[in-house]
Structures are given as C-alpha cells and as structure tokens.
Symmetry: C4
Subunit: 275 residues, 4 copies
Amino acid sequence: MNNTIEEQTWSRKNLYKVLEVTRGKKSRASIIFNTVLLTTISLNTFAIILHSVKSLRHDFDTFFSDFEYFSVVFFTIEYFARLWVCVENEKYKHPVWGRLRYIFSWGALIDLLAIMPFYLSNFTSDTGLIRILRLFRIFRLFKFSRYVHALKVIENVFKEKREELILSVVFFLFMLLISSSTMYYIENAAQPKVFSSIPATLWWGVTTITSVGYGDTYPVTTLGKILGGFVAVAGVAMFALPTGIFVSGFNEHLKSTKPQEKKYKYCPHCGEALE
Amino acid sequence: MNNTIEEQTWSRKNLYKVLEVTRGKKSRASIIFNTVLLTTISLNTFAIILHSVKSLRHDFDTFFSDFEYFSVVFFTIEYFARLWVCVENEKYKHPVWGRLRYIFSWGALIDLLAIMPFYLSNFTSDTGLIRILRLFRIFRLFKFSRYVHALKVIENVFKEKREELILSVVFFLFMLLISSSTMYYIENAAQPKVFSSIPATLWWGVTTITSVGYGDTYPVTTLGKILGGFVAVAGVAMFALPTGIFVSGFNEHLKSTKPQEKKYKYCPHCGEALE
Amino acid sequence: MNNTIEEQTWSRKNLYKVLEVTRGKKSRASIIFNTVLLTTISLNTFAIILHSVKSLRHDFDTFFSDFEYFSVVFFTIEYFARLWVCVENEKYKHPVWGRLRYIFSWGALIDLLAIMPFYLSNFTSDTGLIRILRLFRIFRLFKFSRYVHALKVIENVFKEKREELILSVVFFLFMLLISSSTMYYIENAAQPKVFSSIPATLWWGVTTITSVGYGDTYPVTTLGKILGGFVAVAGVAMFALPTGIFVSGFNEHLKSTKPQEKKYKYCPHCGEALE
Amino acid sequence: MNNTIEEQTWSRKNLYKVLEVTRGKKSRASIIFNTVLLTTISLNTFAIILHSVKSLRHDFDTFFSDFEYFSVVFFTIEYFARLWVCVENEKYKHPVWGRLRYIFSWGALIDLLAIMPFYLSNFTSDTGLIRILRLFRIFRLFKFSRYVHALKVIENVFKEKREELILSVVFFLFMLLISSSTMYYIENAAQPKVFSSIPATLWWGVTTITSVGYGDTYPVTTLGKILGGFVAVAGVAMFALPTGIFVSGFNEHLKSTKPQEKKYKYCPHCGEALE
C-alpha cells in the first residue's frame, strides 16, 4: 500500500518535472511535451486567424473543427494534469487548499479560459453568445506567457514605477477630457454630426493626442484648428512622460540585476575585505 | 466672551483639519467629507459629458438641472468654508490680507471658477454667452488637482528644465513658421483653397510636425512633397528634444528626492572614513 | 585730428555696446534699441503671415507696404551700423579684412538676407521672381537667433553627436529607398496612378516611416500591406535611434557644463590638495 | 618559378590593399578605386530610381541599358578580384576553403546579389520573373555598407540588447493579435468589407499601434472606438519600450567604447593609489 503511494508520488513528481518549465537540465520527455504544447498553441493562433477568412472557413470547415476538438481535448488533459501535479510545487502543496489556490493562479486561469468557451458554447444555441465565446479563443495566445520569462521584467518595471504611470494616465485623462469638452463646444455648431457630443468628441481627442489622425474627425473652424494644434503638440510632449518613466525604469532595473562593481573591495587603509 | 472666541477658533481649526488634505492620520469626518467631495467632482464630470448627448439631455433634463443645483450649492458652501478656515494655515493667517491672498491662490481660483459661471449665467439671457459659461463647468475637473500630489513632480521638472523647454517651444515655432510659409508659397498655386494663406497652412504644419496627419491638407506638387518629407522627418527628430529633456529631468528629480544610501561611510574594520 | 579719431572710436565703441547683445549690465540705450529691434522683427513676422490672407491684403494694402518700407529702412540702417562698429569686436578688428570676414559671418548674412530681397525686387518686373523674393522675407525670423543663446546648446549637441546623427540619416535613407523601391514593384500593378514610380513612392515611404500617414497613398494589396506594416513598425523603432542620441547628447552636455563635485578634493592619505 | 609566385603574391597583396577599406594611410590607387566604386553605386541608385519614371525610361532607354551593362561588368570584375585577393585576409587564408568561406560572408553575398539578377534574367523570358529580378537591383545599395563603419555600433546594440528587443517584438505581436482579433469581432458586423477577416484587421492594428493612421480603416461603432482608443494609447506607450532599450543600449555602448580617463590613479603627492 505504502509502496503504491510512494510510487504515485514518484510518478507525480516526474510528471510535474515534465509539465513545468524549470531551470536546469530538461528531460527528453519535458522537451517533447513543451514542443508539442508550443506547436499546438501556435497552430491554434493561426487557426483562429485563418478561420476568420470566409473562403478558408468554407473550404476547410471539417479541418478547422477537427483541429478545434483536438486542441480542446489536449488543453483539457493538460489542465487536469497540471491540477493533479501542482501540489509538487511548494506554494500549492496542500492537496485541497493548495489546488484551490492553484486554480485561481494566473497561469491556471489562462489555461481554463482557453478551454472553457468551448464547453460553454455547447450549453447555448444563441449565435450571438457563441460568437462572443468564440472570441475568447484568442486568449489561448496567453498560454505562451508561461514561456516568456522576460515578462517578469515588464511586470517589475510596472510595479516599481506604478505611481508615475498612474500619474501619466491621470494626466492623459485630464488632457483628453478638457480638450475634448472644449473642442465639442467649439466645433459642434460647424460639424454637428461629427462632433455631436462630448463622448463622440473623445474619439477625436484620442486619435489626436496619440497622433494617429485617421482623418475621420478633425476641426474645420479656425478656433478649433488652434485648439487642435495645441492638443497635438501637447499630446506628443505628454507621451515623452511615460517614455521617460519606462527608460529610467528599465535602466534602474538593469542596474539592480546586473552585478555592480564595488567601489572598494578592500579598505584602502587597513586592507581588510569589505563585505 | 474670550471663551466664545476660543471655541470659535477651536471649531475653525477642526473644520480646517476636515477640509484640507493633510498628511498623517485623518479623522473620520475628514475622510467622509473628502469622499463626498471627490464623488461629487467625479459625478459632475460624468454629468457634463453625458449632458452633451442630445438624447440623454432631453430624457433626463430635470435630473441634470437638479444635480447642477446641488453641485453648485455644495461647491459654494465648500468655497466659503475654505475661505473662513484658511487663516488656520500659516501662509494666510492674517484675517483680511491672508484671506485676500488665499482668494488669489491657485486652489481658490479653481474653486471659484467651478461655481462662478453658474451665477453669472443668471445675469444674462444671451444663449451664446450661456453656452460659453456652460463650457467653463469642465474646469470643475481641476478640483481633482488638490488630491494629485504627484502633480508636484511635473511642476518641479517644468521649473528645473524651464530654459530647455522654452528652447523647444521656440524651436518648434521657428520650424512651424518657416516650413508653413515656404509651403504656402509652393502649394498655393496648385491648391489655392487648401493652402489659401499662411495662417491656413499653419494647420498643415502642425499636423505634419506632430505626425498626426489627418489627411485634410497635404502637398500635391513635387516640390511641396519634398519639403513636406523634410518637415515630417525634422518634426519627429525635433520631438526627441523635449523627450530627452523630460527623461533627464525625471531622472535627476528622482535621484535628488530618493535617499541615496552609501554602503559604507566608515570602514567597519579600522574606522577610517571612506568617501 | 587725433582727437576726432579718438572721439569717433569712442562713439563707435558706444554704438557697438548699444547694438551687440553682451553680457553684464546693459545701458538704457541698448535696452531701448534691442526692444525696438525685437518688436520690429516680431511685427514683421506677423505682417508676413497676415499679408498672405487675401482679405487682409486688400483692406490694409497701404499699411502693409508702409510697414515694409519702414522695416527695410530700419534693417538697412542696422546692417550698416553693425558693419561700421564690428571692428570693435576682437574677431573682426582689421578695418578691411575684419569687415569682410564679418560680412560673411552667420549673423551678417542673415541680416543681409532680410533686406536684400526688397532691393532685388526693384530690378525685376517678373512676378514669379518677385513672389520668390517675397518668400525670402520669412528669413527675417532668423534675426531672432541673435537673442536665443540656447541655440548654442543644440549646436554643440549636433557637433558632439555628429557621427551618430549622420548614421541615423544614412539609416533612414537606406530604409526609405529599399522600402519605397520594393513597394513600387509590389503596388504599381494595383495602383498605377498612386504608385506610378519610385520617386512618387518615396512620398508614401516618408509619410509612413515618420508615421504621419495622411492617407493619400497607402498599399491595397496583401503583400503591400505586409511590407507597409513592417515599414511602419521599423519606422517607429528607427526614430528611437535619434531620440536616444539626443537624450544621451543632452545628458552629457549638461553634465559637462554643470560643475561636478570632485571625488577627492584632498588626498585622503596625506592631506595634500589634488589639483 | 618561385620568383613568379612571390611576384604574384606581391601583386595580390597590393590589389588587396587597393580593394579593401583598411585603416591607416591609403594609397592613391585605393583612393581612386574606392571613389569610382562609391560613385558607381550612387549612380546605380539614381538610375534605379529614375528608371521607374515612365517618361525618363522611354527617353533615355539606351542610356539606362548601357549604364546597366557597364555597372554589371564593373561589379563582376570587382567580385572576382575580391575573390582572388581575399586569401590575403587572415580569416580566409586557405586558397580553397578560405575562398568558399569568403563567398558565404555577408559582404560577398551582397556583391553577388548585386550582379546575379542580371545574369539570371538572361536565362528566362518570363516578364514577371524579370520584373522581380529587376527589383533585386535595389540591393546594390547594400554595397554601401562596406563604407559605413558605424553600422558596427547598431549591430552591437542589437546583439547586447537582443533579449529585450525580442521581448518588444513578442509584446508587439501579442498586442497586435489580441487587439485585431477583438476588433474583428466587434466591427465585422458594422463594416463587413473593411474588417472582413482577422488578417484584414491586422492592417488596422498595425497602422493604429504605430500611429500611422492612414484613415482607410477605422472603427465606427462605439465599442470599436473605445477599443481603438485603448490600442492607440497602448501603442504609443509600448513604443516607449524599444526607445528605452535603444537609449540605454547606446549609452552603455558609448561608455564601454570611450576610454574613460581617471583623473588620478595615484596621489601625485604621496604615491598612494586612489581608486
């Protein structure tokens, strides 16, 4: 009996090592599994994109639905396998609470979001809802994030510079609201259809501040053009803000992760080692 | 008699602590008041935006005007309460001159601008003027600034880098005037309606230098396209200027506000000072 | 005789001090002259801009031509006065060669360019030529440069980072030529009028790389859109180059002009002063 | 016999010094050859651009084809001359394997690509293929790269910051796919022709994230505009990433290549080391 439990633990540990991306030497099984998983996610991305093309959708209908079935089955097995082995991780070691905590972890939620829409769409015949559920398939892309270690850097910069980034967003919203409201009052009389309300003018505000400038909405009155010019200039200047924040954030981060030469390795006076 | 004055002073001090955003522990009254104020400002912002939508304006007319009355009454009481208690602040402690100085402070002017248009609009029946006064309501958004401590950072960067920023503006105006004037002389013959005068061409200049490019005005002659290309490139390059200024401004500011810890001030072994 | 020369020298020196922008205490005469000059340049700028507006040109015709006469007379007197007194400057002290060198200095050429077109336009009746000469009046704006000391900073950054900036320009031209040529071969069949030749496609290239995107030329074929997408992304990424160059250029410049604390003022071992 | 080999070696060495851009004093022959080569490349670039203009192509047909023959002959001689002398370079000193390795070096491949299309076009009469081969002539521009030493800096920054740049690209693709897929599901019903499929919507995604905004595709539904606004803002913010990477990359590179002078390595008074 005891033997069986040990054996089970042993095989669970092995499976954990196969499934999870860990540092150090990888086993052949782990390399094969992760290659298959990455390929399946990539192919899914392509399938989602190509399926939206009408002609392809009609010609390869069976192929697309077969691939969808295969993907969901594969991702479902993966999901439950990960749920079974997650207790090998110190963070989730309790068989019940650990697994529950794992279910609500970022990675597990993404894995669930990748398969859930398929099962839910079987419970409804509302084509609108099915359409929306189909949209959620794109979140399978997020399954890639397990392999992008570098996302950690972005996350850290966001955390460290949180206050400054919030400030940028607040600034942007201020500028957007003030400029769009004023532009609405200026342009509304001349272009009552395009600048029909402040919410409609916000679209002008965003495309101008970000300097996208599609050309579907732009001021035509002299006063509106003067304001528009100021907003465009202020917009470019304002985006210097987050750029600066990111730059200094990255620099600081790189400095703190890179080993820095110490000023003094030994005290220059007594020769004793420092630290 | 003396007692009453003291009591009055005491209650004024209390009210001051409730109204003003101070550091340290906040009283329950202060938290409630500031929450109500922030909510009212936020709702005002939404009301202004939604009121501009024709259908909403008609359907919820009474609601909008009621909310406007409530807001003005609330902001008016707030304004006079702040004027009464401002003398508790060391900067405005003289009962007459201090209060006068307070009235012309940034915060008080914003508070006044938030209520004044409402009262002024009662003295006129000119719908054009009422329209403009209505526009001023958007400045109620600035009442938020009391709560955004981080605005101080922006202000400091602006102050420290004032000279460089002025230089950027001067550069921008130079480029704008030179390029627009030249473009006017080049394109006027080919597009007499679009490039009708230098002031009209300035609109092309701004949308090109900021790379917004709505597409309502662009050169069609070969010479105009060559100049336009140079201006577009120079525009992007030129906005590297304020970006650089902001970046170094932020870095310097962060360095000088963050406490920089030296590792060792004294050698821990022999006690000699390490510089 | 000698006295007269001395007197002349003395008055020339005085006039030099009035005309030239020097550091230190300014005399009342200098302040008045420079204020008048700055005002005249500013008014000239406005006059040039407003003169291009047809209605204003017709209504205030006499005013504009009177102001033009006044400006040219004023700038001509200024030019010759500066030419007379320039020998007070150590750089141009030789009465003949110094003055000749002064004539070909940057500042003097700008001053000449501000008045020359007026005189030249009297020798021709060709309206086309007069139009072009009229355009040159905009260079009067450059007379401002005498007062913008900060232009020196830009000039220095350009000099110090010359190699990197040339590299950026070379890179930009490479990208522009390669992408436009390829786009021409791809899109020419689908849009023979818009992408009629490589020179015509260069206009698409510039508006895309600088992300202006007027919307007058854009690819419509799938291959063209793929290339267009890459060019747009590469364009934004590429402009990170000069930004980085400027940023580090400014930082370096600021560091070298700001007094830097020395690490050791005195040798910590023997106490002797270091430099 | 031995003498002849020596002589051959001697003349090969001389030719090597003429052909290759080396540091130090250049011989007159080297300066002449390189000037001629640079001029030929420049003229080729102009010829390719001007040949695409229909009117010029017809009027100067013989001239263009003569210049093409001359260029190809010149570049072919250059190619084989370089192949002959390349063994003088330590890296390719083996007469057979060294030359083979040279053939697959970056520089030699560019040289081959500059002449190959011409020879290949003689083996086919397919105008479509000839058109494509003609396109490859633009790669003659890359022959310039031999002279742009500074490209090394870019290459090094790319190498050093490879991981971060890959991260940026991954981030960009993520954002592009997620936003375009979602936009497709939102806008498809309202604009079935413009947002016909996800691949078609990717074009919208690229022009928005890079803020080019041609104006040929933009959302018209409220939900689409909200998403579009977020994507535009995120796009600008995201390009702060590679900018920051480049900036810090350049700074680091400049620091490590510039010799940093210490002021004093040793105290000039007592001889003690100052670090």
